[in-house]
């Protein structure tokens, strides 16, 4: 039985403005499933994530994960169902070390009074996977933003998600860091069979990583398809560059 994330007619209103309107898409939860969500600033990308992960309650519409309706669930409940997320502005536990982060993630997933060998082993495994071993005792507040993002991701991985929502993970990264992160994400997706939904502004990353892309513009989906299809889509070009560019391209 294939598990899917189903978003149907999702909408969110903020004080009279429709941040997201009538959004629908489906994603299969399996290796190889990598969906990108792009759009100009304010298009509603982070709002969509918020509605899926539980920070926000949809004004209308449905979010279904593995056949169960999860819209309106509190974030911790959504996480327990198998959806993890990272945040646009990176969040970590500032006073804790890298290793302590992962242990906290383990406890968060499955509560226990003490910390056993299993949790330590799993923490070490994730440390290796995300290449944070050397930094395991560094206190989070002393890390650079890039490393904080990796730590955030590593911590979320400790909760054994089936689907990851990644909000602008590449923001502020240089080309080398982007390549490394892409490698890590591919590994997570293919080896750990964790589906990915990636919100990004860094086009290169999205186009290379994702098999399918959804384009949002002022809260509405204006295009969906493979990276090539989306890149050639008139409406998309217009959204990003304005009508002038379209006319210019034509002439």
């Amino acid at each position: 039985m294939m598990q899917t994330l189903e978003v149907k007619d999702l909408s969110k209103e903020f004080g009279g403005v429709m941040a997201v309107e009538g959004l629908s898409f489906t994603l299969e939860i399996k290796a190889g499933s990598r969906l990108g969500i792009i759009g100009p600033n304010g298009a509603g990308k982070t709002t969509t994530f918020g509605m899926i992960s539980g920070e926000l309650k949809p004004s209308s519409g449905i979010v279904k994960f593995a056949g169960e309706r999860i819209d309106g669930f509190k974030p911790h409940k959504v996480c327990r169902r198998g959806i993890g997320r990272t945040f646009q502005i990176v969040r970590v536990l500032p006073e804790l070390s890298v290793y302590e982060h992962l242990l906290t993630g383990a406890i968060a997933r499955k509560f226990s009074f003490g910390l056993g060998v299993d949790q330590q082993r799993e923490a070490e495994r994730i440390l290796k996977l995300t290449d944070l071993e050397r930094l395991k005792d560094v206190v989070a507040k002393n890390l650079t933003t890039v490393l904080k993002k990796r730590l955030e991701l590593a911590t979320v991985l400790m909760t054994r998600p089936k689907l990851l929502l990644l909000d602008e993970l590449m923001a502020g990264l240089n080309l080398v860091e982007i390549e490394e992160t892409l490698k890590l994400l591919r590994k997570i997706n293919e080896e750990m069979e964790i589906a990915l939904i990636v919100v990004e502004h860094v086009m290169k990353a999205v186009m290379e990583l994702c098999g399918r892309i959804v384009v949002l513009y002022y809260g509405e989906k204006i295009a969906e398809g493979s990276p090539r299809e989306v890149a050639n889509n008139e409406k998309v070009v217009e959204a990003y560059l304005g009508k002038e560019a379209k006319n210019y391209a034509r002439s």
Partner: protein
């Protein structure tokens, strides 16, 4: 079990700290034998305050929630215990745990709605709750004696020939409870529960996003903190044997907050140190009842200017400088 405890203590604590604690323990045990009754009395007050601050540290230092009603829970425990022994005729040893549990439940009842608020909103709400409790105690003449207070509260029933109406016996009783409470909290903050509290303190939204039911755990922290304060209240009631509403007015809650932050929140031992020092300084200066608070406030501000992490922060700084030499 004993073996691993010692190993854990040695490994995690460091030989120096362990030695320090042992010496401290010996000193504490010897005080009633060498010091005057008055000093023993002040030590008891200091220990009671230390128990209040250490239980408060669980909520503030480890879970990151600033509340201003710890004094109210102290009072609820005190009055409950006193009334159970005075009016219901229960023995102290039964009244004590009941008071603790009752205060825990009250804490849960208040915490559940109140903790939906955050930061200063939450703080001010607890402030008011504390004040409300004070008003209830002050005005429930029939039950609590109102402004006249409760008197002739019996001391704990003795056993094995110990008479708890004596100052020294009370001292040891409170010391034992104090140690038990510190050990309990020490184990708690290092357990899985403690890690969750800390995660909530560091970033509540992130903690929530990785699957922690932050609402439930915040209430748990609040309730445990309250219940412990209730136990301390019971100890106070049966030691002092006289209760007056003014002991549990907001000033007490504020002092607990200040002592905890002054000593260094989030360290368990910082608040204990803070409580001890403040109690002693205020007691030593009791000839100038208001001026001592002025001195105390100035000292607090000076410490804060130098080290936001409080006394423990200063001690750590000195430690680092020492090691550099």
């Amino acid at each position: 079990m004993k073996n691993s405890l010692r190993e854990v203590a040695k490994a995690k604590f460091g030989i120096k700290k362990l030695m320090g604690l042992v010496i401290l323990l010996i000193v504490l045990l010897l005080i009633p034998r060498v010091a005057s009754n008055y000093i023993v009395y002040v030590m008891i007050l200091a220990m009671l305050y230390a128990m209040l601050t250490v239980s408060y540290d669980l909520l503030l230092g480890y879970t990151g929630q600033l509340s201003f009603c710890h004094g109210a829970f102290y009072g609820i425990g005190a009055y409950t215990s006193a009334l159970l022994t005075l009016k219901a005729g229960l023995p102290f040893w039964v009244a004590l745990p009941i008071s603790g549990m009752f205060t825990f439940v009250v804490g849960a009842g208040v915490g559940y709605p109140a903790l939906r608020l955050r930061g200063a909103y939450f703080a001010v709400t607890t402030f008011f709750f504390g004040h409300l409790v004070y008003l209830v105690i002050l005005n429930s003449y029939k039950l609590t004696g109102g402004p006249l207070g409760l008197r002739d509260i019996p001391p704990p029933e003795g056993f094995l020939g110990i008479d708890f109406s004596s100052m020294n016996s009370s001292y040891y009783l409170i010391l034992v409870f104090g140690i038990l409470m510190v050990v309990f909290l020490y184990r708690l903050v290092r357990s899985g529960i403690g890690r969750i509290f800390i995660a909530i303190r560091e970033d509540q939204d992130f903690a929530e996003a990785i699957g922690i039911n932050t609402a439930a755990f915040k209430v748990l922290s609040f309730s445990i903190s309250a219940g412990l304060a209730g136990l301390v209240g019971s100890l106070f009631a049966h030691f002092f044997r006289l209760l007056h509403p003014s002991t549990f007015a907001w000033m007490t809650s504020e002092m607990v907050v200040i002592m905890t932050l002054f000593g260094g929140a989030g360290t368990l031992f910082g608040p204990i140190l803070g409580a001890g020092i403040v109690t002693f300084v205020l007691e030593v200066m009791r000839f100038a009842p208001e001026f001592r608070y002025v001195i105390w406030a100035i000292a607090l501000i000076v410490v804060l200017v130098f080290e936001p992490k409080g006394l423990i922060g200063i001690i750590e700084r000195i430690g680092r400088l020492w090691r550099k030499k």
